[in-house]
């Protein structure tokens, strides 16, 4: 055993330990992007292909596994659904005409004209990440940058927490690192959307900092209020499930079921530019992350009606 300490292998181990310590310290800060880029350059195309194959295989397996009875039942269910959708379509056209008239009369403008979206597919999910962080197949080459909001057609999914040339990592709405300044769409009462591991496991988030006499109630829709410059105004977050007392202070919080199922989402959209983006971020030195949205919300008053 004594010879081990004089062996070439042991010397190699010592050199490797110091080199990796250096790498860890460098990449813990802002550096090390070149190493990440090198690994990403190799693994991202493989992950992209692997995800594509898995998705196609899952769809094929699902079709092949169905029996005749199951297919008949599904057919009946789909016919019923078609009838229902036809009725909805008639209503939709009626509403569309009404909407067009209202728009004309009230001269409503399209609120989302300022958005510059980039669509992306989820290509990787790390098993060791407890908050459902995922990797998308677009990066800085597609004009994506850190803190860009990530959405689906249903609402907010998260934000870009790191970006490389051909991929980006998205921290989801279920992460404790995400704080969104939001408001109840019904009564405009404001709060901060946040999460912890227990909420994340249930797939819900918390609209905190509500006043004692809050008007927020079950069924209300929660949207972003645009404070902080990270998320545009009026992006859908979720619906209120229940309003409860905060165990740590006198305020109340609402449990909100997000519209986006971030645990299984496959396609997302990154908003690379919108009106008011980064306005608060640029204003203060301390304001440098999505947590800014939270501080902006709390400074504007939790019950900002």
């Amino acid at each position: 055993m004594k010879d081990i300490f004089h062996s070439t292998g042991f010397k190699a181990l010592i050199i490797a330990v110091f080199a990796l310590l250096g790498l860890t310290l460098t990449t813990a800060g802002a550096g090390g992007a070149s190493v990440s880029d090198a690994i990403g350059f190799l693994s991202t195309p493989m992950e992209r292909i692997s995800t594509l194959i898995t998705n196609n295989a899952a769809a094929t397996a699902q079709d092949a596994a169905q029996s005749k009875e199951e297919l008949a039942a599904e057919n009946a269910r789909l016919k019923k659904q078609v009838d229902e959708l036809n009725r909805k379509l008639i209503r939709y056209y009626t509403y569309q005409q009404e909407n067009a008239q209202l728009r004309k009369f009230l001269e409503l403008k399209n609120e989302n004209q300022d958005f510059k979206p980039v669509s992306a597919a989820v290509i990787a999910r790390d098993p060791a990440n407890l908050f459902y962080q995922f990797t998308i197949d677009q990066g800085s080459d597609a004009a994506i940058s850190v803190y860009d909001p990530v959405v689906t057609e249903s609402g907010v999914a998260g934000w870009v927490s790191s970006v490389s040339a051909n991929y980006a990592r998205v921290t989801t709405i279920l992460s404790p690192d995400t704080k969104i300044s939001a408001a109840d769409k019904v009564n405009r009462e404001g709060g901060v959307v946040s999460c912890d591991i227990r909420f994340a496991d249930q797939g819900i988030v918390k609209l905190g900092l509500l006043s004692e006499k809050t008007a927020v109630k079950k069924g209300d829709i929660v949207v972003t209020n645009g404070l902080g410059g990270v998320y545009p105004r009026d992006l859908a977050v979720g619906t209120v499930r229940a309003v409860k007392n905060d165990p740590y202070d006198v305020s109340l919080y609402a449990e909100v079921t997000p519209f986006v199922d971030v645990k299984n989402v496959r396609d997302v959209m990154v908003i690379t530019s919108f009106q008011g983006q980064g306005e608060t971020l640029d204003d203060g030195a301390s304001a440098s992350s999505p947590q800014t949205a939270a501080s902006a919300a709390s400074s504007s008053g939790a019950g900002g009606k």
């Binding site: 292998g9 181990l13 490797a16 990796l20 990449t27 060791a128 962080q133 591991i197 496991d201």
Partner: protein, 173 residues
């Protein structure tokens, strides 16, 4: 290059590709089914099983490769898992060569201990030190199932890498 060197190069190339493929499999959404919300780190037992059959320096190199891949997937600081696995695989290889007889049982013991250490340090550095709440709950509801799932799959990698180590080896080695 003589026969021994050629066999070694082919074997090491196979190990390298194996770790890369396992990394892609573990990262692909929906490919490895989740059990109680947990998914395994496939690269971890694979790197440990390589260490049982190879010399220290080679084991360390594959430990570093596996660790860098885990670091990359995890999205944190590059080098944390590489350092752990590099040093861990070096130690496992040393123990397997000098102190313990290499068999399935000793592999299971070594792999379980190493996996437990990696998950525990992950919990301490990336959960507790990050200041997230409910650390005890995270350990019991997430890290423990992840450890169990990874440990259950470990024998597959032992069998695979044992075959690889024995088949792609010259008689001189």
């Amino acid at each position: 290059m003589n026969g021994e060197g050629r066999m070694k190069a082919i074997r090491f190339f196979a190990y390298g590709i194996e770790l890369l493929v396992l990394f892609v499999v573990q990262e692909t959404p929906g490919l490895v089914p989740a059990v109680f919300g947990a998914r395994p780190l496939l690269v971890l037992p694979a790197a440990i099983s390589i260490a049982v059959f190879e010399r220290e320096t080679a084991s360390m190199a594959f430990g570093i490769e596996g660790g860098l891949l885990i670091d990359f997937g995890f999205g944190g600081a590059l080098g944390f898992h590489a350092l752990l696995l590099g040093a861990g695989c070096y130690l496992i290889s040393l123990i397997a060569a000098n102190l313990l007889q290499t068999n399935f049982l000793t592999y299971l013991l070594l792999a379980s201990a190493a996996e437990a250490a990696v998950y525990l340090l992950q919990w301490i550095f990336f959960f507790v030190f990050s200041g997230y709440g409910h650390a005890g709950y995270a350990l019991s509801a997430h890290y423990l199932p992840m450890f169990c799932y990874t440990a259950v799959l470990a024998p597959i990698f032992y069998a695979f890498n044992r075959t690889l180590a024995l088949q792609i080896r010259s008689k001189e080695e």
